[in-house]
Subunit: 358 residues, 2 copies
């Protein structure tokens, strides 16, 4: 199945990328530096997971995937504006191995405009704020043009509304909660962290599947059974993926994981895995685990000790159970839909994303 | 007429303010600091010129103004998100005499969260970026609920589309041009500055009138004659107002103008008035006028000299001519509509805004 999945993924990505390249919205943006910044992330590639979810959810709900092409491109652009603003907030310098939007603009300010470092930095941030703002407008504009694909005005309106009042509000609230965790003195509680994750990453995955299904069925009702089933599939899949990511970041194999282990510990970022362990450990071991945060490097012995504490506390088992439960919920939601080619593709995609061994 | 105008303005503002207070969108925003930031500017009052334009344009095009109430509230919220992001970019500390959004949040970070000044500043900016992002979502959500007022799905869709592809793109491009002028070495040209002003302030005024008229006529066609006439009225009115503002900032009476004179000079901000004079003056006087920029204070003699150069160059006359021309265009556009109470109110509003003596 894998090579078939890869082939289908490439087709879906190709559709979205062609749409993004050809879309007329950015061409009228001025000045040139802003126009390029608006196109930067959407043209940079990536997994395109969200638009693929939209296209295949449309297919799984019985529509031609191309009916959801505007919705798919819209969620991809939407995802990108949140990345541009997040990167400013997190002061990140790299995104997909290349300079982030504000860094790219900062370099342009230093080069083309000859600005000194302080002014170049301010210029980069200012323009990146506006680039993200414009991408939010672009995403909406593309979504609102779903009528070009034969989707009715009522359904298009409902998709756009959900994009504001569910996706926008949940996602930005999730991001703000994440920012607040960094600034306040105490750690988030388990429910708070769960809510943040469900908002910051779950809402966009859920919405991607939801709008694909709404386009397929041409329904303004986001509670329609097949729409809700696909939304729940994507949301639970995303949550399971996040839990697995927590686990792999500690128990995984650095080679196959693709990122350095213990990076959440290094950054002092509490994960669900960490918070669960802290809640279950006796005070002395709580303090020991806590002392593992924010270190410059982790020796093999540190790594063994972290793993030992996470296992002893029962946090590893609990997270594996939760991940399995969310995976099952995801697949059960999918199973409520009639069998077809795209339902199988979504199943294969879920298995592919979740099969990473801990 | 003035007291009648004031009375009607108060009624229109009251409608919009009641809508903003009652709207359910912000209530689900988390955390509390972000929710309050989202409400901050929209609840702070102000002239509410844009929503009034929407409501009365709806009336002038033959609809009950309340049909455009969602559109009116939407343009007001939209205006506010652009102010929040502009204030970050311009490092402004005050807005309508009170702390700007990022300053309010910075103070909250320093107080409630006990952050040191550097972290409080970063917290304030981060949350203000997200507050503006959410207001953009809120504005769109309110606009998309125009169907609650009996506006058809097709028309609502068209209004929302124009909000992205005309308003959003033009306004943000205008703001970016303004930012770029500050960073690049040369001054903007006259056409560049005109384009910036038309985008940054004109697009929102034009759109406010346009969507009011579209709601009234329930037409998705923003080129319909009455829609275009009202849009052109608002756009020309805004441009004339801006030109008068340039003139009053130099030739006006500080008492009635309400702002210190020569503030554009003090900030080194080229206005159309300044650029026109620079283009017309001989080299020596060009240099003299240029030397008046960026001073800490302006003596009575400086003021006389600036006025003299602006008059001598013909720039004052030219701007007065342009302002008169735009005013006439605005009123001529309005005159294309059948006479009714709201057309008269728009006329009175225009006269009120433009009657300030230079």
């Amino acid at each position: 199945m894998k090579s078939q999945l890869e082939k289908e993924l490439a087709i879906a990505r190709g559709l979205v990328e062609e749409f993004l390249m050809d879309d007329p919205f950015p061409a009228k943006v001025r000045p040139a530096a802003l126009q390029e910044a608006v196109r930067l992330y959407p043209f940079r590639g990536g997994k395109r997971l969200r638009p693929v979810l939209a296209l295949w959810s449309c297919g799984a709900a019985g529509g031609e995937p191309v009916r959801a092409l505007n919705a798919a491109a819209a969620v991809e652009i939407y995802h990108n504006w949140t990345l541009v603003h997040d990167d400013i907030i997190d002061c990140d310098e790299l995104r997909r191995g290349k300079p982030t939007c504000h860094v790219e603009l900062r370099n342009r300010g230093a080069g083309e405009l000859g600005l000194d470092p302080v002014r170049a930095r301010k210029f980069g941030t200012d323009f990146a704020i506006l680039a993200g703002d414009l991408q939010q407008s672009w995403a909406l504009d593309v979504m609102l043009r779903s009528t070009d694909r034969g989707v009715s005005a009522e359904t298009t309106l409902a998709m756009a509304r959900r994009m504001q009042s569910f996706l926008g509000r949940e996602l930005i609230s999730g991001e703000a909660m994440d920012v607040e965790f960094e600034y306040r003195s105490g750690r988030p509680s388990l429910p708070e962290l769960t809510e943040m994750i469900r908002g910051k990453t779950g809402a966009l995955l859920a919405f991607s599947a939801e709008c694909g299904a709404m386009a397929a069925l041409d329904t303004p009702d986001w509670n329609a059974p097949d729409v809700a089933a696909l939304s729940s599939f994507a949301s639970e899949l995303g949550f399971a993926f996040q839990l697995l990511d927590d686990l792999l970041g500690v128990f995984g194999d650095e080679q196959t994981f693709g990122k350095p282990l213990f990076s959440d510990f290094r950054e002092g970022k509490p994960t669900l895995l960490f918070l669960r362990a802290m809640a279950a450990l006796p005070p002395e071991e709580q303090a020991e685990l806590d002392s593992m945060m924010n270190r410059a490097s982790y020796s093999a012995e540190d790594g063994r000790r972290i793993r030992c504490l996470l296992e002893k506390s029962g946090a590893r088992d609990a997270l594996e159970r939760d991940a399995a439960e969310s995976s099952e919920k995801a697949l059960a939601s999918l199973a409520r839909l009639p069998e077809n080619r795209f339902r199988s593709l979504l199943e294969a995609l879920a298995e592919h994303l979740l099969k990473r061994n801990v």
